[in-house]
Symmetry: C2
Subunit: 328 residues, 2 copies
């Protein structure tokens, strides 16, 4: 019997989840839910049932786990609690500072309905968070560092596009090699924001726009670019489409810690991701977490959970016996 | 209230656990148990109570979790079930092929006594196993590779020392750079044993021994060296002591997997360890698992567990709220 999945919101992430479900024979995509006119939505494989989001509430007996693929800014804060009153749910809520409030809201809804809700799944928050936790629990006398990239930051790309005279643009976050090396040496250096990452922007200017002024406005933009060494390249719309249409990302979680009678031994734990497609990888994590949500519910768990609460075995389609025999 | 820990068996690993407990203020070392004469055992910090193993059975009200630091060949198969009938226990049983049988024996004992027993904790089995599981659950259309080293293999060092004419020796397992690169490229290559690792031996020969014959016997030794490109260096006892007294180890778990409509995107997940002291790092993992065993028992869990069954949050001293706030 397969786990019946719904996808709520169909952008890049929803598409990534749709692809991931195909790779997991114990799961079945029941329907994709959209706020748009369903007849205008083309899914990746073209064979999924597409329904309006209003239909979701009538599908509670047909869907086990709803995977929410909306954005963290405005969609998930309301959608996740709402849908957790109807289904087991998984989301990728990634506004780190608001996770505690989101957790409380979702927990209340899921406890009231007797459902399991996994929030903040993905890679950061998600796999990177897990690695920070594991490494810190093993090496308490240490320090962890998270580097992002090389990869496309959606938020920074949006910020570029809001600059007057900018027609289109894309921003890459790049970890600084020297900073990575210093961390890997076990020196536990103090690193400023500027020392950890650089930002590289590819910008298509509108005709006749003042490029020097665009570059200045980008480089001096507070929060987004002012604290970084930023490079701005002006390119054509064709070059942007040809060379920068992908959504790669990745990064590193590194912890260096000391052990021994007087901290005489150093250990380096490093976890890294190199992702051709950020939304497809995130969708793959969400899909594994949907399996875990279903399993936790079967075991009688209720309420809001994060990757920190999921026994790793629940993420895998293999039986506990097979896991011990083949992967332990 | 701190978690009261016993260390059962006091070699390099027991010493590593003793060091780790000092870094975890929520734990307290109650006693070290040894098969030797306790009066002859000097602990790392010199302040631990040292008792004969026979005393353990009288300490059930004083110790919450017993961390077993014996060997997998002959100690743990009998010790872990035995002690699981008295305490929550953690071991580092690492004979991969015998894990299912060990699990069953320990599970029966722990279920009968109402205790929690975590087996096969450490880094492989342990953290590497976890990373194989997570990566495989996220990227089902992929393949994982485990590389070990550069590091000292105790088993291979022992094998060298059994060769006639060898006075002392140490063996390093070294991953082949080209193989690592091929795996990181996402090509999912088929690699032979020889292509993945080389073996480097530092040998002290007895006076007048036939070095060419020693080298031949090492290089042709079945199971241990015959399937590898092996290098043998003859050095003096002084050089061995000066340059090779450490017990470093480490390695890599890498999975490359495809996603997308037709597998058009490649993702690389890599986890690596670089450890100055294998037993101290392993001891640190065991110590975190002792906390998890205690927590699982508090939640009403019983029986044998592995890292696959442990909700990650249980390994950390932080509260669930603090974990979500600071690490998620």
């Amino acid at each position: 019997m397969s786990i019946k999945i719904g996808i709520y919101g169909y952008g890049n992430l929803g598409r990534g989840v749709e692809c991931a479900i195909r790779q997991n024979p114990d799961m079945e995509l029941v329907a994709v839910f959209t706020r748009r006119d369903p007849s205008g939505v083309k899914t990746a494989f073209g064979d999924a049932r597409v329904l309006h989001v209003e239909e979701a509430k009538n599908m509670t007996d047909k869907i086990d786990v709803m995977i929410l693929c909306g954005g963290s800014a405005t969609d998930l804060p309301t959608q996740t609690p709402e849908l957790a009153s109807l289904f087991h749910v998984v989301d990728s809520f990634d506004t780190h500072a608001r996770i505690p409030a989101h957790f409380d809201a979702v927990d209340a809804a899921a406890k009231a309905s007797g459902k399991v809700a996994v929030i903040s799944a993905g890679w950061d928050p998600g796999m990177f968070s897990l690695n920070r936790l594991y490494a810190g629990a093993i090496l308490p006398a240490g320090k962890d560092y998270t580097f992002w990239g090389k990869g496309v930051s959606q938020g920074h790309s949006d910020a570029i596009r809001r600059v007057p005279g900018v027609k289109n643009g894309k921003q890459y976050t790049i970890p600084v090699g020297a900073a990575l090396d210093a961390v890997r040496s076990g020196a536990n250096p103090d690193l400023t924001t500027r020392e950890k990452h650089t930002r590289e922007c590819f910008v298509v200017a509108e005709e006749g726009a003042d490029k020097a002024e665009i570059e200045r406005q980008i480089k001096e933009m507070p929060n987004y670019f002012a604290d970084y060494d930023t490079t701005v390249h002006f390119i054509t719309e064709e070059e942007l489409a040809r060379d920068h249409s992908g959504i790669p990302h990745g990064g590193f979680v590194i912890r260096a810690g000391k052990t021994g009678v007087s901290g005489e031994h150093t250990h380096i734990i490093e976890y890294s991701l190199k992702l051709d497609s950020n939304p497809e990888f995130t969708g793959s994590v969400l899909t594994a977490c949907a399996r875990a949500a279903y399993r936790m519910a079967e075991k009688g768990e209720r309420g809001c959970k994060t990757v920190f609460d999921i026994p790793p075995a629940y993420l895998s389609p293999l039986s506990e016996e097979d896991l011990r025999r083949t992967l332990l």
